[in-house]
């Protein structure tokens, strides 16, 4: 017998185990290796999903486990989809989602474009810019609560310095018109570096030879930007939008820490509302239906987005 790794493993296998394994087909051995992963996937992902769908058709309350559970059909869905408050929550989520993605993509791409230029202290600036992303969302929420303080907050003083208004004359997290923007600004501050890093990877993957060829053809920098840089970074940008879109759709911690969903309900995003229904009002069946609606929405959006991403990559 040779000294190949396979033979050494075969020699080291106890005789009893070797006899048992020898009787199995390759397919059976493959299943033995894959089975634990499949079992975990079914137990952790698929079973809870099916159970949630089942609960969404009942009036189950998890804080009253001994109560009889009644099958209510589509009533939970009907109540959610005719409720003005849930509708307002969806609009708050849409506002947060659209503005954070727009701002993060624009600022992230601009920062990546600047960082991609060779200049002194380039690495130091990159490290400083990505710092917010490394902080915990709870810390960032707390941190911005202080920045937004009308009396002592640096943000109010910065705005006052630019506009000339009195810093104590407005409260970013206490005003119903400003609070939705307060959470957008905090999230943009925290997650723009993530978009910047993805864009930077895209920019660094463009070979210099393409720009050299464009210069030989006397293409202006503006034209080079629109015909080389943007199309080649687009798949990376789309990936960043997908990640941030899904992540912001379920945004919870930062907003809870910053505004707690207030004032009133203007910053109550769907995930916050869902948590209140499930674990404060204990309407498990209702919140399951809510979760199913959000799941199908994100799943549908992700499906068309991945299709678009593949199209851009194939171009």
């Amino acid at each position: 017998m040779s000294d190949a790794p396979m033979d050494r493993v075969a020699r080291a296998t106890p005789a009893g185990a070797a006899r048992r394994i020898r009787g199995l087909s390759d397919r059976a051995i493959a299943w033995i290796f894959v089975a634990p992963s499949i079992f975990l996937l079914l137990a952790v992902n698929i079973f809870p999903l099916i159970w949630t769908i089942r609960l969404s058709f009942t009036d189950y309350r998890v804080n009253r486990p001994n109560r009889d559970v009644e099958w209510v059909g589509l009533r939970n869905y009907e109540r959610i989809l005719t409720d003005d408050d849930v509708w307002a929550t969806m609009q708050a989520t849409a506002h947060f989602l659209i503005w954070t993605i727009v701002l993060q993509v624009l600022i992230g791409f601009a920062l990546a474009w600047l960082i991609n230029k060779k200049f002194r202290g380039n690495d130091l600036w990159t490290t400083i810019i990505v710092l917010p992303m490394m902080l915990s969302p709870a810390v960032v929420g707390n941190f911005w609560t202080f920045l937004y303080q009308p009396q002592i907050g640096l943000f109010n003083y910065a705005v006052a310095f630019v506009t000339g208004a009195d810093p104590a004359s407005f409260s970013m997290i206490g005003d119903v018109h400003l609070a939705p923007w307060a959470i957008v600004i905090a999230d943009t501050w925290m997650w723009t570096p993530f978009v910047m890093l993805i864009c930077l990877a895209g920019l660094r993957s463009i070979p210099d030879s393409i720009y050299e060829a464009a210069e030989c053809d006397r293409a202006s920098p503006w034209r080079q930007f629109w015909t080389i840089t943007v199309p080649m970074v687009l798949p990376f940008l789309m990936l960043a939008v997908l990640f941030r879109g899904i992540e912001n759709f379920k945004m919870f911690d930062l907003v809870v820490q910053l505004t707690g969903g207030g004032p009133g309900n203007v910053t109550t995003l769907t995930s916050i509302d869902l948590k209140r229904e499930a674990f404060e009002r204990w309407r498990t069946g209702y919140s399951s239906a809510y979760a199913v609606i959000l799941f199908v929405t994100v799943f549908g959006l992700a499906s068309i987005y991945v299709k678009a991403l593949n199209k851009v990559k194939d171009r």
């Binding site: 869905y77 989809l81 005719t82 003005d84 509708w87 969806m90 609009q91 989520t93 849409a94 609606i293 199908v296 929405t297 799943f299 549908g300 959006l301 499906s303 068309i304 299709k307």
Partner: protein, 64 residues
């Protein structure tokens, strides 16, 4: 346009995926728009039909 309709009739993946994608996008708009409650009420059904449709039609054959 006629190619698109032809693809739909012959159950081709491309045009049917397009229809499902439009349904999903329309449903998400209906879910999050601030104008008409009626649109919000029916949004989930539109998204659900689009999403299930997308899963089904992604198994249709590609155009040769």
């Amino acid at each position: 346009m006629s190619e698109f309709v032809h693809g739909l009739i012959r159950l081709r993946r491309g045009p049917w995926e397009m229809v499902a994608s439009i349904l999903i996008a329309l449903g998400v708009f209906m879910l999050m728009q601030p104008f008409v409650l009626w649109l919000y009420t029916w949004s989930f059904l539109v998204i659900l039909v689009g999403t299930v449709g997308f899963i089904v039609v992604s198994h249709f054959p590609e155009d040769p």
